[in-house]
């Protein structure tokens, strides 16, 4: 892990309107995430952690404030610019895997690479590497329905890392798994951070999962109420602007 922040969130506000009602989801949020850091986001339902994750991953736009990933301000990008940016810079791991049921494990992992200028050989090598990393080289032609939940999530992780992204975001990646499979997935995320220096941001409700992260952020009612390093809870700190 280096100290250089790869994600910088500045004065972030996000609100939704439902009918005449305006709902403040995130309020005046400032967060830095260092390169190679494994960060866990926790908080009760409705605290805004998934919204924050979506904003950092470029899936949504803030109401105000800035988000920089690397040296790019993603909060100023258009939808199609964001789509292109996501392909190269973000790997997303979902709670319910969200693999395409009609495609094999190989084809699911290959999917994001179809959008990148790679030769066939490069594409094949990257897919096989990613599946080998998650130890599913022997399940290339299996469809999601033929895999266990843990295996499906590993395919999901392979799909997330196949483009060699800057950032991996995971929304409750262990939420649908038994404890053994959950442990395997968390170990895998650890491995990605350690061996590939990937920056991982994970939303979780599970304290055991959060323990595996190096740093824990706790959100409540859209505000950051706690920022800790692993095992060292501490009150919210003001980040330099």
């Amino acid at each position: 892990m280096t100290n250089k922040p790869i994600v910088q969130v500045r004065d972030l506000y996000k609100s939704f309107t439902r009918g005449a009602e305006k709902i403040e989801v995130l309020t005046d949020l400032n967060v830095d995430v260092a390169e190679g850091e494994f960060l866990a986001l926790m908080g009760p339902s409705g605290s805004g952690k998934t919204t924050l994750l979506n904003l950092i991953a470029g899936l949504d736009q803030p109401t105000s404030g800035k988000i920089l990933v690397g040296d790019q301000e993603i909060s100023a990008m258009t939808e199609s610019q964001l789509a292109r940016w996501r392909t190269r810079h973000v790997g997303f791991v979902f709670q319910f895997y969200h693999l395409l049921p009609v495609l094999t494990a190989y084809e699911n992992v290959e999917l994001p690479l179809l959008l990148m200028p790679l030769t066939a050989a490069e594409r094949k090598r990257q897919v096989l590497n990613a599946l080998e990393l998650v130890q599913l080289s022997n399940r290339l032609s299996h469809r999601p329905g033929m895999l266990s939940g843990g295996q499906q999530q590993r395919v999901g992780i392979a799909r997330a890392i196949v483009t060699d992204p800057t950032l991996i975001v995971a929304d409750e990646p262990t939420g649908d798994l038994d404890s053994k499979s959950a442990n395997e997935i968390l170990s895998l995320l650890d491995l990605l951070r350690e061996s590939l220096n990937k920056t991982i941001i994970m939303v979780t409700h599970d304290p055991h999962a959060a323990e595996r992260a190096q740093r824990l952020l706790h959100l409540e009612k859209g505000r950051l109420v706690m920022d800790s390093t692993q095992g060292e809870p501490r009150p919210t700190v003001a980040f330099p602007r």
Binding site: A83, R86, L103, R159
Partner: protein, 482 residues
């Protein structure tokens, strides 16, 4: 028992048989996409990565689309069958309308004009008019005149029965003849012109005409009519004219030939030599000592081919000159306009088919596709969101959905019209008696109509759900799932 069998065939065997080519085509397309993918991978190895990747991605996208169609086999099959059946109905209607349009559309040059009794329906003109009208047409100024040997023809309609007892008249013993000069069969009859027939069919018609000229009692029938009356070529028969028309006239005829199979519009038709009709009327006069009531009015229609509109106008002027063609007076009109007038009685049903039935079927077809694709998109919103998360552009998501509908629509339309074209035409066309047309054939143009119609319906039906898939908001979809 028979009803049960028919129901079984229609409800179970029929759909299965119709689905086989659909799945066969889907499989073949996927195979092609895979082979294409492999080929493009090897062919694009030397191209710049950006361009090469775009080429490689096309077959990969096609595979995703094809696999998505197979995802819910029942829904895809039902959509395909619905479109198939509706395209089939439209093809049938369209075939009839196209034929009638062709029959009633006015040609700019070398068209046939029809001379008939000006006031009486049915038209009845004296036989002396044959020579007089022919002379008028042949004496037009150069560049307008008709050739008496090949540009004129007369028709006399003669209703007959194999049974002398009118009360026993039926489809199985009735023959309605066009009585005419056999030479007209080679030059003046629509779809029987020598240059329009295949060499074998043209030869068959030449032999028919030669046989009728050699033997004035020779008749030519359609194969269908032969089957109906249960006779064969070479048979001799006696036919009795309807008492209300050519009372007490009988013909001893010999079947000398049949119409070519390709001339399906003449199914049910029969040709009698005009000379034999004339001689029979003369014989009646010799036998009874008095003229037959029809002797002086047995020419129903006089056809003449004119080179252009000016020639027809000139002929009309010469026919209208005072003192000429006054008993009865005659009128001249385009053949197409005469057919149009004849079809006036059917105009409501034709308009209903054209402006109500066809649009209604197309609308239903669009709704069927819209329904199937909407359900599919609604079920797969998380998938669309995932594709967007992975970096797919909205237009790429749009194409994936439109592609599914397009493949189903084009396959249903294409397979339907291909099967209809070869199947229906081989079985003798569509039986739909309207005016003097008994049967209609699926035109060869249907081979492109079908896929295009299926494609239009598919795009119209899927554009809204595809747009909705394209516009999926990722955060909203995942918020709902969470």
């Amino acid at each position: 028992m028979k009803i049960v069998l028919v129901l079984f065939l229609v409800l179970f065997v029929g759909p299965f048989v119709l689905l086989l080519p659909f799945f066969g085509m889907l499989g073949a397309m996927e195979l092609c996409a895979r082979v294409g993918g492999r080929l493009s991978e090897s062919l694009t190895a030397t191209l710049p990565p950006k361009f090469g990747a775009a080429v490689i991605a096309i077959p990969k996208f096609a595979i995703i689309i094809l696999k998505s169609i197979r995802r819910n086999l029942l829904r895809s099959s039902l959509s395909y069958l619905a479109v198939f059946v509706m395209v089939l109905v439209i093809t049938g209607i369209w075939s009839i309308l196209t034929f009638l349009d062709a029959a009633t559309s006015a040609k700019a040059a070398n068209f046939k004009a029809l001379v008939t009794d000006k006031f009486q329906i049915p038209s009845q003109m004296p036989p002396s008019y044959i020579g007089e009208l022919t002379r008028e047409a042949a004496n037009l100024p150069a560049g307008m005149r008709a050739d008496p040997a090949k540009d004129v023809m007369t028709w006399s309609f003669v209703g007959t029965s194999l049974d002398p007892d009118p009360s026993k008249r039926s489809q199985e013993n009735m023959i309605i003849f066009f009585s005419m000069d056999p030479r007209g069969l080679l030059n003046m009859m629509d779809d029987l012109e020598q240059d329009r027939l295949s060499p074998a069919d043209a030869k068959q018609m030449r032999e028919n005409v030669a046989a009728m000229q050699t033997n004035i009692k020779g008749i030519v029938l359609s194969e269908e009519k032969l089957r109906t009356i249960n006779r064969k070529v070479g048979d001799r028969l006696k036919v009795y004219c309807f008492p209300g028309q050519y009372k007490d006239i009988e013909f001893d005829v010999e079947i000398v030939g049949t119409f070519p199979r390709s001339a399906g519009r003449y199914d049910g038709s029969a040709i009698l030599n005009l000379e034999y009709l004339q001689k029979s009327l003369d014989a009646y006069e010799r036998k009874t000592g008095k003229q037959h009531p029809m002797s002086n009015r047995y020419i129903n229609l006089f056809w003449v081919r004119v080179p252009n509109e000016d020639a027809m106008r000139a002929l009309a002027e010469s026919l209208d000159k005072p003192g000429r063609f006054s008993t009865p007076p005659v009128k001249i009109e385009r053949g197409s306009s005469a057919v149009s007038s004849f079809l006036d009685a059917y105009k409501d049903i034709i308009a209903g088919m054209r402006y109500l039935l066809v649009p209604a079927i197309v609308a239903v077809m669009i709704l069927v596709i819209a329904n199937a694709i909407s359900i599919s998109v609604r079920e797969r919103r998380p998938e669309m969101a995932v594709l967007k998360v992975l970096g797919f552009q909205p237009w790429q998501v749009l194409i994936l959905i439109l592609g599914e509908a397009l493949i189903v629509g084009v396959l249903a339309g294409g397979l339907c019209t291909t099967l209809a074209y070869y199947g229906v035409n081989a079985r003798g066309g569509i039986q739909f008696p309207i005016a003097f047309f008994g049967k209609f054939f699926i035109p060869v143009e249907s081979l492109w109509w079908g896929p295009v119609l299926g494609a239009i319906a598919a795009i119209a039906g899927s554009v809204v759900p595809a747009w909705s898939a394209r516009s999926v908001r990722v955060s909203e979809v995942f918020a709902k799932i969470a």
